[in-house]
Amino acid sequence: MNVSKQTRRQLTRWGLFLFTLVIVIVVNLPIISLVINSLRTTTEILSERGFWPSHPSLINYYYVTERTQFWVFFRNSVVVALTGTVICIFAACLGGFALSRFRIRLTRSYSSLLLMLQMFPIILALIPLFILFKALGLINTYFSVIIIYAVAQLPFATWMFRSFYDAIPIDLEEAAQIDGCSRLQSFRYVILPLCSAAFAAVTIFAFLFNYNEYLIANIFLRSESTMTIPVGIQMFMQQYGSDIGNLMAAATLAMIPTFILFLFVQRYMLCTAIGGAVKG
């Protein structure tokens, strides 16, 4: 009796496993199909019937990496996303500390301001900034996008830092202050070293969001020498819309950094998901 109950439980477990496997495949079908078809030439994509390519080749990848500006786009993406992230992290780690340790009117209104920023339609900021940056000759420069990226990720980064600081007992700082540290020194020498993992996580998240971003980059970076990957690929889509083989290879290449970085931070995913939303 006991045995059959156990087998039944095992059966349910593996049944659930299979069921979820099917769901995962169906949900990711567009992506799976994109990656597999990037190994076919465009003519093969349109004519072959099977799921697997009969002559898998990297010809599309060769074309995208050798004949197009893909690496230029990649370099632009990395420079813009990384610099924006560094500025954002600097501002957010300080702001988050203020939110975590000082419960005064200033920090309460600052917290509401950050929440309001989440609602701010970015297009509303982009139109006047475009006119301003155009007058200053900053269109098609990294600076224009970097500074906007820094602010775009600010609310979420600040909230994440705040929740990490909240988890550190205040006693540690008080002990440092008794030993003669100033408040800022105790932050620098006690708190920050304790949050190195948090730093890494927030940095990677902010980088990912910036790397994936399209609208801002599309407005400010119009020349091929400054375009980021999403803008560059969208240009491919317009230029060789019929050449889907190359487009798929470019899209697959663009995903690779995202996947690698995501694997490092996926266990922190939850903090970003609801941290900012539920905290006031």
């Binding site: 659930l16 496993f17 069921f19 979820t20 769901i23 995962v24 949900v27 990711n28 567009p30 992506i31 994109l34 349109l46 501002a91 957010a92 300080l94 702001g95 203020a98 000082f102 005064i104 920090t107 600052y110 509401s112 301001l113 929440l115 989440q118 609602m119 701010f120 339609p121 297009i123 509303l124 900021a125 139109i127 006047p128 475009f130 006119i131 500074i147 820094a150 602010v151 600010l154 408040r183 800022l184 994936n212 399209y214 609208l215 990957i229 999403p230 690929i233 969208q234 019929s242 889907i244 487009l247 899209a251 663009a254 995202t258 995501f262 694997l263 939850l270 998901a273 609801i274 006031g280």
Partner: protein, 305 residues
Amino acid sequence: MSVPTTELEAGMRVCARRRRHVEWLPYWLVVPSLSLILLINLYPFATGFLYSLRNGTMLQQGNFVGWTNYLALLTDSAFLHSLFFSALFAVCAVFGSYAVGLALALLLNKEFPARGFFRVCLLVPWIIPSIVSVISWRWMINDQTGMLNLILRQFGAGPIYLLSTEKQAMFSVIIVKIWRSFPFMMLSLLAALQTIDLTLYEACQIDGAGRWQSFRYITFPHLRDLSIVLWILMTIWSVNDFETPYLLTGGGPSNATENLIVLAYRLTFRRNDVGSGTAVAFVTLIILMALALLLLRRQSVAQED
């Protein structure tokens, strides 16, 4: 709070004065962030409002026209349609992604092999760049060269125009939005599900409740507060979404899938009509502000509980 005695009040004032020396630190801490916000959000907010009251272009300031741009929107069929599509898009995206997310969260909350791995796999639609998800979807449902129509052709069935007929394009944009947003819902709901005390379910079973009843009386009340926050957040994000409609259909066919953000973009950067573009953006902001107030009120209610 009880009325403090005068002595206590005086003491508090002395404390406050003494503390004021040290408490400049938080102000310094927010200076970098605030100066960035000032430049990137508050400056455009103020100038954008002025632009919306003028009939300027990218190069010329134009003349002051008062509320004309806003009034013109009221009779502009493109604006009214984008308002309708934004609302439809947001409502469908919220309920669609919530339903899919909740179902998958309940599934992943069960005990079975490779659960953690599957959870990561299901986050993929959310983390990949929007342009990649759009290319993969366009490949699936494109008119002549999409996978769906290639397969249909092999069976001799006619092509389905999912991106180039109005109703179908609206449907496709919404489906892709749900696909891109459900992982966020799933992740948040799963986190909340994992904090439910399992003994509650046991107690419920002993009392003779069925599965539906334990969902209805334990799971759902537990998720309720989070759900409301998630609905509001997703509404705001959907109204603000530019990339899904713009990259997938470009707002077409004949502006059927144009939401407020795409319309503001088109008016400003394609038609060079800065006044109308910023006016649309401001209307969007006002709509979002109403939703934001709802969220803030919800939060203060939750904190009081």
